[in-house]
Symmetry: C2
DNA sequence: TTCATCGTTCAAAGCGATTTCAAGTTTCGC
DNA sequence: GCGAAACTTGAAATCGCTTTGAACGATGAA
């Protein structure tokens, strides 16, 4: 049933019905109630295709999921992020459009979404240090929000990010406090903004204690389980292995744990691990004492925040760009302990060494 | 720029331009080339909102992601499935609409998609043994395809499923052949069709060897890492622990492995594990010898197949319903070995026992 | 009583494409 | 060279809604 017929059936004009349904103030309360009740009873729902053409609004937010040929993997945090964002879209009557494209076609995909008029705004995932998409979307005049940041991008834009630098410097400091001096870093792909910030946080903390960064202990790659396994194997098989490892996600951490087990090395006593935990719904690092010591920040919550900001900015509720910097809390788990050297000291009863670990050599 | 203006600029009527762009045969090749080239040059792209109203087609496929309050988790296979399906949609010029809703609102969400006219078809995820959505979509007259099956549903419908029963009976037989007699099953949520079929396959294989199913060895739940850990702990801590475990997904299998390690039990020698592997992109069970012995079937490929079938059925290319039953191959990994009892025999040199294991008691 | 005002309602003109139906132009056989 | 058939093109209707501008009746002030 279309508007015309519905309006006719209840003895009103399409104009009035439309206004009643869309909450315009010109219709009397009596009429509005009648319209709403009749719509319910007769099962009338406005056709969105027509409404979108008439209003010029798509009532849809776009997300683009690029798949690269080389490492064709879907980021495991994607689904949780989408769940968070999608929840908010639903509440506001927006739809979510997801485009899966080959990554060399990504720019074209944004352009396409914009010119075809199928979305009112988009979310940028996985920004690089220097990300051309920000410039592109500005040029297209399409509202957007970035999940993460792009350090080299100039100008203002909406973003929601974790304080990656702080999280990783804190985690590193924590390990240093435990006496660790050789600390590995299994990071995300080179060029990703978050990976760069995490590397910097790690580097800062080391530098603050006068420790040189050993390139043999730093890895970047796509965060699969196998990647965590392979890099951990490599580090622990080397001449001068680390006593602790920072890992950018719980997925490669599973691989790292597997490597430790295969090598018969104890997690938390012989080698410590601190991860960054996105709080994935199917992979919770929880329990009385969580498995991993972790810097945690819910990616689902980040999705919600991105959605809220983008919707606000589309509705024009606010002009200036918004930024949210989420602090990751450092939760203590079972995967960390004093460095072997430190343990040695402890065993000799010099417990205060742990309390002022930076006084150690 | 809209059609009218574009047509005017290149000295043609909107009619002709529309036809040229949409590949209708009535326009001469010369004109079509001119239109296509001008569109490229002037940057004209038809507005999809208008096209959708005019054609009555949404050129969009809907997916609904329900989140339950109790176990609010996003199925980890979701993103890989979507990646596969989305790939095909893009190729055919379709968009993908994703609705995130609370699970008690799921039926309403389908109804809404249908009456608002925003999708031309939908994919049903995670069907239950008796799934009301099939009836609902039939009533709504909305084309659909089910990823999985619904055993109790009557009538024909499109589906793409893994031969879960066969996969699990084969896996069980394989373990039986290795001499295992107490075999645990860590399954998906009760009521899910795939979980029921897997349970049946497991039960069939046991029955064929005259082994009674022990309810203490069968678990159903949402497939998180922690679930795998907890159930494994429980089984192995019991009076009469299993020597082998079947696990419905690689995620809980990670938890199971953690449990084994915590208990100091060797994986593959003391306790064997066979998993069902959806071949998730960020969690590949690969290598010269894969970590886990597994029944494998790519969920991404299933996504592609679902998309193809649904698109065909929307385009009316075919009337009858289509079914695809994917066979999962059983790949040998490092997580299985002869049962301890069997190992005993082997050590005594009775190697042929392994070759004809069903002759054993 | 009259007129201005306010609150409601409606007719009709969009939104920007597609598609029907009619008309104009070629092509081709005889 | 003519008429029919085959190609091409275009004018206008249509999709189902929103929204502008006008009209209507009721209300209240003068």
């Amino acid at each position: 049933m279309n508007l015309k017929e519905f309006a006719h059936r209840i003895g009103l004009s399409p104009t009035t019905v439309s206004r009643a349904l869309n909450g315009y103030p010109e219709v009397s309360e009596r009429t509005r109630r009648k319209v709403l009740e009749s719509a319910e009873r007769l099962g009338y729902t406005p056709n969105s295709r027509a409404a979108r053409l008439a209003t010029g609004r798509a009532m849809t937010i776009g997300h683009i999921l690029p798949l690269s040929k080389e490492h064709e993997m879907v980021n495991p945090i994607f689904s949780d992020f989408i769940a968070g964002a999608g929840e908010q879209y639903s509440k506001s009557g927006y739809d979510l459009s997801l485009s899966v494209v080959r990554d060399e076609e990504e720019a074209e995909a944004y352009r396409d979404l914009a010119t075809r008029g199928v979305v009112d705004g988009v979310v940028i995932h996985g920004p690089k240090v220097e990300d051309p998409r920000i410039r592109l979307l500005r040029d297209l005049d399409l509202p957007f929000v970035v999940h993460g940041r792009s350090s080299q991008a100039h100008g203002e834009y909406n973003w929601v990010d974790v304080n990656n630098r702080r999280a990783f410097s804190r985690a590193t400091e924590f390990l240093l406090d435990l006496g660790h001096r050789r600390i590995g870093l299994i990071n995300g792909l080179d060029g990703m903004d978050f990976a760069t910030r995490r590397l910097n946080g790690y580097g800062d903390a080391l530098a603050a204690r006068g420790i040189a960064r050993d390139p043999d202990l730093v890895f970047s790659g796509e965060m699969t389980e196998n990647y965590g396994f392979a890099t951990t194997m490599q580090m622990l098989g080397s001449q001068n292995p680390p006593t602790a490892i920072l890992i950018s996600s719980i997925i490669p951490a599973m691989g790292a744990r597997r490597a430790l087990h295969d090598l018969g090395i104890g997690l938390g006593d012989e080698v410590s691990i601190v991860i960054h935990d996105d709080d994935l719904s199917y992979f919770r690092n929880e329990g009385d004492v969580p498995i991993f010591t972790a810097t945690r920040s819910s990616v689902r919550e980040a999705g919600r925040l991105c959605a809220d900001i983008l919707l606000d900015s589309i509705r024009g509720a606010q002009e200036e760009r918004r930024h949210v910097l989420l602090e990751a809390d450092l939760t203590l788990g079972q995967s960390t302990g004093p460095a072997p050297a430190m343990r040695h000291l402890l065993e000799r009863g010099r417990a205060e060494a742990l309390r002022r670990p930076h006084t150690l050599t």
